[in-house]
Point group: C2
Chain length 321, copies 2
């Protein structure tokens, strides 16, 4: 994979983004553009298709899964898996099974989160949500199936049994943390003494950061990380994971539904705790800066092979959708 590619029109590739940014690392001036950073996405999508082609699912279930899994989407988590693996000098091919699996878990969580009994959303990634496109029963079952397929993929496609077991444990723990985050978010029950800032942090360390952190850890494991490297990648993943959510909350306030491809202003409408509602818009922006700095600091031990992760972090801090 060529990491240093030509400069494309970023607006077309990561829609809504302001364009190519000149990036500075602690080691060199960056020329990584989004098209280059997003290169792994196509490979992961191809791999997912191939895996689904090899299963004989009921035709309507297969169609529902492909609708959710292969439509538009940033593919942030699989991209992180591949680049975290690359940061350790690992091969892209080794990272494909966990990259595909984490995208399946992410899509399952979106499909269930959009259900009428949950967030009751009509729009996702610029298209009708799955239960609007099909029906509620199919959305429940297709979500279930995506989770099951993720674990099947890890168990059957990773040849090294030790690695497969480790990845499966990582994926399962992160999935359960994410589900716990959904519970904290949708059905909050906190001790009375817990203040809003702590509640918010608890929700998003689980709901959003868990899968993003897991992506980085799984990629690092595929690249053969030692304990120190794994710990550094965990700090990076935790920081960009939380940063992703703060930016998401900011965009819910400042961007339009058209820009987002999902309903804007939903958080305030549903009276949810968000970073802007707890810390203000300016305070949230400062929080983004602090998290970005922490993420880049975590990568200080990685050389040029860590560049894609540094560049991704910087793009994520300024994204507009």
């Amino acid at each position: 994979m060529t990491l240093l590619g030509a400069v494309y029109n970023c607006r077309a590739i990561w829609p809504g983004h302001a364009g190519h940014l000149p990036l500075m690392s602690n080691t060199a001036e960056r020329t990584l553009d989004l098209a280059t950073l997003r290169q792994p996405a196509a490979g992961v999508e191809g791999y997912v298709k191939q895996f689904l082609d090899g299963r004989s699912l009921p035709a309507n279930l297969d169609a529902a899964i492909r609708y959710s899994l292969l439509g538009a989407g940033k593919r942030l988590r699989p991209i992180l898996v591949v680049h975290a693996c690359g940061a350790l000098g690992g091969d892209v091919a080794a990272a494909l099974p966990p990259a595909a699996a984490i995208e399946m878990i992410h899509c399952f969580s979106l499909v269930h989160d959009d259900l009428p009994a949950m967030d009751d959303d009509d729009l996702r990634r610029g298209r009708p949500t799955l239960h609007r496109h099909t029906n509620e029963a199919m959305a429940i079952l297709a979500g279930d199936a995506m989770m099951g397929l993720a674990f099947e993929l890890i168990a059957t496609e990773v040849a090294d049994a030790q690695l497969a077991g480790r990845l499966s444990a990582e994926l399962a723990t992160a999935t359960n943390d994410m589900i716990a985050g959904q519970v904290y978010d949708t059905l909050p029950e906190f001790p009375e003494s817990t203040g809003p800032a702590d509640r918010l942090e608890t929700v998003h360390r689980h709901k959003t950061a868990a899968l993003i952190r897991c992506s980085c850890r799984m990629g690092a494991l595929c690249g053969g990380a030692d304990e120190g490297q794994l710990a550094a990648m965990t700090r990076y993943g935790e920081s960009v994971g939380l940063m992703f959510q703060v930016v998401d909350d900011l965009l819910d306030v400042t961007a339009t539904t058209e820009q987002l491809g999902k309903s804007a202003g939903k958080d305030a409408e549903q009276g949810k705790l968000t970073y802007p509602s707890v810390h203000g818009i300016e305070g949230s922006r400062e929080h983004v800066e602090r998290l970005e700095a922490a993420a880049l600091e975590a990568l200080s031990g990685f050389g040029d092979e860590g560049e894609p992760l540094r560049a991704l972090c910087e793009y994520m801090s300024v994204r507009t959708n």
Copy 2:
């Protein structure tokens, strides 16, 4: 574990059952009663509790999971895991992680199947279904969590990495087959040429038989089965799995809601294909006999250690709830 126990009052233990049956095997007269056969259930429940105690789930999610997982229930699948392991001369302790995991998968499937958008059921195991006891969002999320916890349990509690990988693959494939079965059952889309008997068979080979077959295979793997023994256990599991469903369909017609602990007569009400509706009551009873014979034949290579599985099969053929 003592397999040859005293004769207890079976009606109290497997409620609704007519009592102790004298059983004949191909090797010896049987003295196995249901209390003895069900002995592993308590061990599996204790193991599940211990695993949940070791997690720090949100309190309301934890309560919802325990409500579903530790209430009444036959525990058929975990009991099959333990006895299949025992049939190979394996230790009960080795079978506990997959036994607990398959019960989690089974309970997750019940919770989601009961949802308003699915079978819309109010009663399960003699109590309100989880979405009636709590709410729909919690039922969706607790179901999701039980699936995730099942895979976490296999990945973290089975020390032998090769075995863990194999069990995880078995569990994931069976889970996906079961979900496909729910789709065939709830949202049927078959080629027009598929007759009702074939549709019915397709639904239940996936929906019901997959997890029961998987229970037997996972137990056999924990017991160190060779390929021939695994194939025999697969035939046994497939036969008792289908038999379980034929008996279930018969009970839906012939038993009361009180006996079943779930709504009787739902199948006919919802116009579902069932064995009695396709093959008649007498034809279905003959099918039970054929499947029972096939299950016992599959066990012909197992000696006295296969007795619990033989006895379970015979109890399952005459169960009344």
